[in-house]
């Protein structure tokens, strides 16, 4: 009985942790890129570390990092390669955001793999 209870508690804790750590998108998922800031274009970064640095940096530091980013139009398609939950933190964010690796599947940069903020990707619904 005691073992069953302990197992149940462990399951609950692990389940909660998994739920908390879950990404909004998953590997292989088709997504559309769209930013919810005033400019809906999306900046995509050559590494996840730079993505995180960009959002944690001061404006001047972020400006210096711009050569490492590409700007894609809103509505660009992509496929999720990987996702790291809560990887990007910023003093200006209400809560940490995901870092998502995406292979661009439309537009002039098609086939390029870049890192993008979790809130800038939306699962693509098939009609």
């Amino acid at each position: 009985m005691r073992k069953a209870c302990a197992f149940l508690i462990v399951c609950l804790i692990l389940g909660s942790a998994t739920a908390l750590a879950d990404c909004r998108v998953h590997r292989g998922e088709h997504v559309v890129l769209y930013s919810t800031t005033d400019d809906p274009s999306v900046l995509m970064w050559d590494s996840r570390a730079r993505l995180r640095e960009y959002h944690g940096a001061s404006f001047d530091e972020a400006q210096a990092m711009l050569p490492h980013a590409v700007l894609v139009s809103p509505g660009t398609h992509g496929d999720v390669v990987t996702c790291i939950p809560g990887y990007v933190v910023s003093p200006l964010f209400a809560s940490p955001d995901d870092a998502v690796g995406v292979t661009i599947s439309s537009g002039p940069l098609k086939g390029t793999v870049r890192w993008v903020l979790g809130s800038d990707v939306r699962p693509r619904h098939k009609n």
Partner: protein, 455 residues
């Protein structure tokens, strides 16, 4: 009785003072709480205005960007002009928010400064090159525009959070102040209620004590009142003023008592002290002197015997009595008297007034022998006996009337005994003001004009 009254008055005053003090604190506390709440409301108003202005600012900023895009796409100078108008509006609104915040919200102020700096840099590094070369669209400028957009969006969100957080905090603070104010009011109401109950109970007790004292006073007045009985061939008048006006009893006493068909005891005495305590002693004097006089026909012997009795009966070295005792023969109008330190005894013969000499010291001090004198009154003569309340009454300048002044008053007074007594009492009231400071007894005995002395 007097000490109880003093304690009662002191207690009432203390309680009233405490009640007033509490009331003062309550009123002051209410005003303070009101000021605090008003201040909090004012700050909440500031935050709300800043929030509204912030949304307006963001709208102007978006207008600025959209109008720039409009110009780049159409190259219509209209958009260029509108862009500049929006920029000016943005600057004006930003200053307005700064004024509203007034440096009180350091977090929001800093974020707003960051936001303003970003906007300025955007104008210089993105908008200005695009306005100068609308045909040139460089990816670097687009990325930079995106960078600005990201930061401005995030900064605006942070400002919103900061203002909302501060607003919530003020709301909670207001609620706390209102709660505290309510509890305080409840506490004050409770305190006032309790104090009012205590005060009322205290007042009731005082009223009860006062009523008891009044009842005792009424009994004393009945028992100890100085009195005069009519004498054959004589007109008798009297007046009495008590320093304790509400009690009408005091430390002065007079008595006219018929010892036999043609013999009357005439007594006036002044006891050191006044009020109820002295009044009690007057009864002792009145009845004791009557008792002695019934078996002793010499005023000198009456005073001597009474002096012994007084010392033994009272036993208080601080109490002494000045006393005039006379035995008036209503046939011959011969008055034999002894005066124990009582110098306010006068005889008016027509318009001439003479003061009767004292024949010994005040009673209750020493056992010295007393003398006696005999005078004969003629028809129309008036014997005027008073206590020192007559000669010692002071005018506004503090001057006593004195024996001479009293004699002048007596000389001018009406012939009727009662009128004379009333006029003297009125003169004392006028001279001493509305409140008499010392007890006063006046006894006037006038031999009627038609009376014929018999040998």
């Amino acid at each position: 009785m007097r000490s109880v009254s003093f304690a009662s008055v002191t207690g009432t005053m203390l309680l009233t003072a405490f009640l007033l003090l509490s009331l003062g604190f309550a009123v002051e506390g209410s005003f303070e709480t009101r000021a605090e709440i008003a201040n909090t409301f004012s700050r909440q108003g500031q935050i709300q205005k800043a929030q509204i202005d912030l949304e307006e600012l963001l709208r102007l900023q978006i207008d600025e960007e959209n109008l720039l895009r409009g110009y780049l796409l159409t190259r219509d100078p209209f958009y260029d002009a509108e862009y500049r108008t929006a920029s000016a509006g943005y600057d004006e609104k930003e200053n307005e928010i700064r004024k509203t915040l007034g440096g009180q919200l350091l977090g929001a102020d800093k974020l707003l400064a960051d936001y303003a700096r970003l906007q300025l840099e955007w104008r210089n590094t993105v908008a200005a090159p695009l306005l100068a070369h609308p045909r040139v669209r460089l990816e670097e400028l687009d990325k930079r525009n995106k960078l600005f957009s990201d930061y401005e969006t995030l900064t605006a969100a942070a400002i919103r959070r900061e203002l909302a957080g501060k607003g919530d905090e003020l709301e909670r603070s207001t609620q706390r102040q209102l709660d505290r104010s309510s509890y305080l009011r409840a506490a004050w109401v409770l305190a006032f209620g309790l104090l009012a109950i205590v005060l009322n109970a205290y007042r009731t007790r005082l009223n009860h004590e006062l009523e008891e004292e009044r009842a005792v006073t009424r009994i004393l007045q009945r028992a100890f009142r100085s009195e005069s009985t009519p004498l054959p061939h004589c007109d008798v008048g009297s007046a009495y003023l008590s320093a304790s006006s509400d009690r009408a009893v005091g430390g002065d006493v007079f008595d006219v008592y018929r010892l036999s068909e043609n013999q009357a005891l005439i007594l006036i005495a002044d006891i050191s002290g006044k009020g109820v305590d002295a009044a009690v002693l007057t009864a002792f004097i009145k009845f004791m002197v009557r008792a002695i006089a019934l078996r002793n026909s010499d005023p000198m012997a009456i005073l001597t015997e009474f002096n012994v009795v007084l010392s033994k009966a009272v036993g208080d070295p601080y109490i002494f009595v000045s006393m005039f005792v006379g035995l008036l023969n209503t046939d011959t109008f011969g008055l034999t008297y002894a005066s124990g330190g009582h110098d306010t005894a006068f005889v008016r013969r027509r318009d001439d007034v003479a003061q009767l000499e004292i024949t010994g010291p005040v009673l209750g001090v020493m056992e010295e022998p007393f003398g006696s004198e005999t005078i004969y009154l003629q028809p129309g003569d008036t014997l005027v006996l008073a206590t020192d309340g007559l000669t010692e009454v002071r005018n506004g300048a503090g001057e006593q009337l004195s024996g001479q002044g009293a004699m002048e008053l007596i000389a001018r007074a009406s012939r009727g005994a009662q009128q004379l007594a009333d006029e003297l009492a009125a003169a004392v009231r006028v001279r001493g003001g509305s409140r008499v400071r010392d007890d006063l007894a006046i006894l006037a005995i006038r031999v009627l004009d038609g009376a014929t002395p018999r040998a």
